[in-house]
């Protein structure tokens, strides 16, 4: 168990992010939330949408919070434990603000699409103008209010831009069903042009499925 230790970069006020993800999930479906934290999203999905909600969470405290909410949550890690799940066990596999902290983002994504019919991924966009400016003119690794760790102690080891992510999706033969970029306050950006998202979006939320 390594990587995702403790502090994950929760990028925006949680509710908006979660509501957006929840909006991408069909009612009464089977959902696996990878890195489910204290189970806020799972509980939301279970109560509002009647989904069969399961989770994986690394921290003992998070698991205990979830178990106390009556959720079925397994203590584990995206990098090592997804391999144990059978094919097509879920309708949706959710990975929220964790992709950049995994050791093998591509493998994790492939497992998600194998385990679930759909994968929902949200991640901080490293192509955001603020970050570009910091590297270009500050000459230092960027730090923002939402990504506040120094380069040497950040759990986020595999940052990508929205365009990088879109390229990876193409590479693993998946298809983007829905996508949205959020500004720093978690509000969806008005324009759907990819370059605009990549420049102005602080994070991306995508729902993927297999290419048929």
């Amino acid at each position: 168990m390594a990587v995702v230790k403790a502090k994950r970069a929760r990028a925006i006020p949680a509710r908006v992010d979660l509501l957006l993800v929840a909006d991408m999930v069909e009612a009464k479906s089977r959902v696996l939330d990878v890195g489910c934290g204290d189970g806020t999203l799972l509980r939301l999905l279970a109560e509002e949408k009647g989904v069969d909600a399961r989770g994986i969470e690394l921290s003992q405290r998070g698991v205990n919070d979830c178990v106390a909410k009556g959720l079925s949550v397994i203590q584990g890690d995206a990098d090592t434990d997804l391999a144990d799940y059978p094919d097509n066990a879920f309708d949706y596999v959710i990975l929220s603000q964790t992709l950049q902290a995994t050791r093998q983002p591509r493998t994790v994504l492939e497992h998600m699409l194998r385990i679930g019919r759909h994968a929902i991924v949200s991640f901080p966009n490293f192509g955001h103008w603020r970050i570009r400016l910091q590297v270009a003119f500050g000459g230092r690794m960027p730090m923002t209010p939402n990504l506040s760790c120094s380069w040497y102690d950040t759990p986020n080891i595999h940052f990508c831009t929205i365009q990088d992510f879109v390229a990876l999706v193409r590479e693993i033969d998946a298809r983007i069903e829905r996508g949205v970029a959020l500004d720093r306050f978690g509000a969806p950006l008005a324009y759907g042009e990819p370059w605009i998202w990549n420049f102005f979006g602080e994070q991306g939320v995508f729902r993927l499925t297999h290419k048929r």
Partner: protein, 397 residues
């Protein structure tokens, strides 16, 4: 009869006359055993705590470990110590006896009042000794099911237990999935590993190498293989603790002396500690029972009954699981619990899993381990809400 009954030969008075409730099963309800024979009569000694509610939906079955017994939450009749799971079971404990009806039976093969090798064989008028058929985990569970039937309970709210008790929990869900609403297999495994069998074999050989074992007929001859049984306990006890906890508790500290004696005395505190564990154990446990219960664990391989796939053992089970392991437990390591979780997931079961961080080794499930207590409480409370079991009312004082 000319021989001394077990109770006179040792501190085994509980064999014949347990200070517990007993259920007798006669020739009309034999226990059909894995060994291919039927056992009858069968006596099951058990304790209960709390009250069964009107719709009989609040019963929790607690399964004990290898050398545990039915005295879960009351003072032990032989040792005088608190019940072995008093941290978990009692008023306002996770298994809250104000809310749930707790049933704790002694296993078949045990020596605290349930039929075991020290019990009288009615066919011969002598203790069974090794004439008792080999007992398996499944036999223990089927006997418990007879007791649950007798108590008129269709579905158990929860079956909980650690170590060998956890094996019984797994067997319960595999054999009677519709009778178990929630399950807590703790610090356990779905099968005994080679290393597990190896340690048990050391213990059994220690017992059988004692000249006082007398081919298992020691009770009739008025002796007890105390030395062999004590050595078996000493070896086993090491496996219940972690290297870290031994080091921090005992290290290389000497026992009541400032220098080694250059002898085979118990110079080290750890030696003294193990000897005490060994000698106190023989006062409360029957040597043949030890052979039977260790064998039951060794034969346990739940997947083997289901075409080699553990997932099939739990296929379609609606039971909600809370699997718990302890990261310093090397007897039934985290990996063994993960294998259970993996199988449950593959079968689509509802499962939660926590690997509790502690340095206390396998024994952590018996101790007041806060994270473990918190997990159990959260799981049971949530399950009770789902089952519609009324919460405890605030009683006026």
């Amino acid at each position: 009869m000319q021989f001394a009954p077990a109770s006179k030969a040792a501190g085994l008075r509980e064999v014949d006359a347990p200070q517990s409730l007993v259920a007798h099963f006669g020739a009309d309800t034999p226990l059909k055993m894995d060994a291919g024979v039927s056992l009858s009569p069968v006596t099951i000694a058990y304790q209960t705590y709390g009250e069964l509610n009107a719709d009989k939906s609040n019963a929790i079955l607690v399964c004990h470990a290898l050398t545990g017994d039915q005295h879960v939450a009351n003072q032990h009749p032989i040792t005088g110590k608190p019940g072995w799971w008093h941290t978990m079971v009692g008023p306002n404990r996770p298994i809250d006896t104000n809310r749930y009806f707790v049933i704790a039976p002694n296993v078949v093969g045990g020596c605290m009042g349930t039929t075991g090798p020290a019990s009288l064989n009615p066919a011969t008028g002598r203790p069974y000794g090794l004439d008792l058929p080999i007992v398996t985990i499944k036999d223990m569970v089927f006997a418990q099911a007879m007791l649950i039937d007798r108590l008129g309970i269709a579905t158990l709210f929860c079956v909980a237990g650690g170590s060998m008790g956890g094996m019984q929990v797994l067997q319960w869900v595999a054999s009677f999935p519709e009778r178990v609403f929630a399950a807590m297999p703790i610090a356990t495994a779905a099968r005994h590993s080679s290393q597990n069998i190896a340690f048990h074999e050391v213990g059994r050989q220690a017992v059988m190498a004692d000249p006082d074992w007398r081919q298992g007929r020691y009770l009739e001859e008025g002796v007890i293989p105390t030395k062999g049984l004590a050595v078996a306990r000493m070896a086993a006890h090491i496996t219940y603790l972690s290297d870290g906890v031994l080091q921090s508790k005992f290290g290389r500290k000497l026992q009541d002396r400032s220098a080694p004696t250059f002898s085979f005395d118990a110079d080290f505190q750890i030696e003294n500690y193990l000897r005490q564990q060994g000698t106190s154990f023989v006062d409360r446990f029957d040597a043949n029972s030890y052979l039977y219960v260790t064998r039951a664990c060794d034969y346990f391989d739940l997947a083997a009954d289901y075409g080699g796939s553990l997932a099939f053992a739990f296929k379609g089970a609606k039971t909600r699981f809370c699997v718990v392991s302890f990261n310093s437990d090397w007897l039934y390591p985290t990996q063994a619990s993960r294998a259970i979780v993996h199988a449950l997931n593959a079968g689509g079961a509802s499962v939660s899993f926590v690997d509790i961080e502690t340095d206390r080794g396998h024994d952590a499930f018996l101790l007041d381990t806060p994270e473990f207590i918190a997990t159990s409480r959260g799981f049971l409370d949530a399950a009770a809400r789902a089952r519609g079991i009324a919460p405890v009312k605030n009683r006026a004082i």
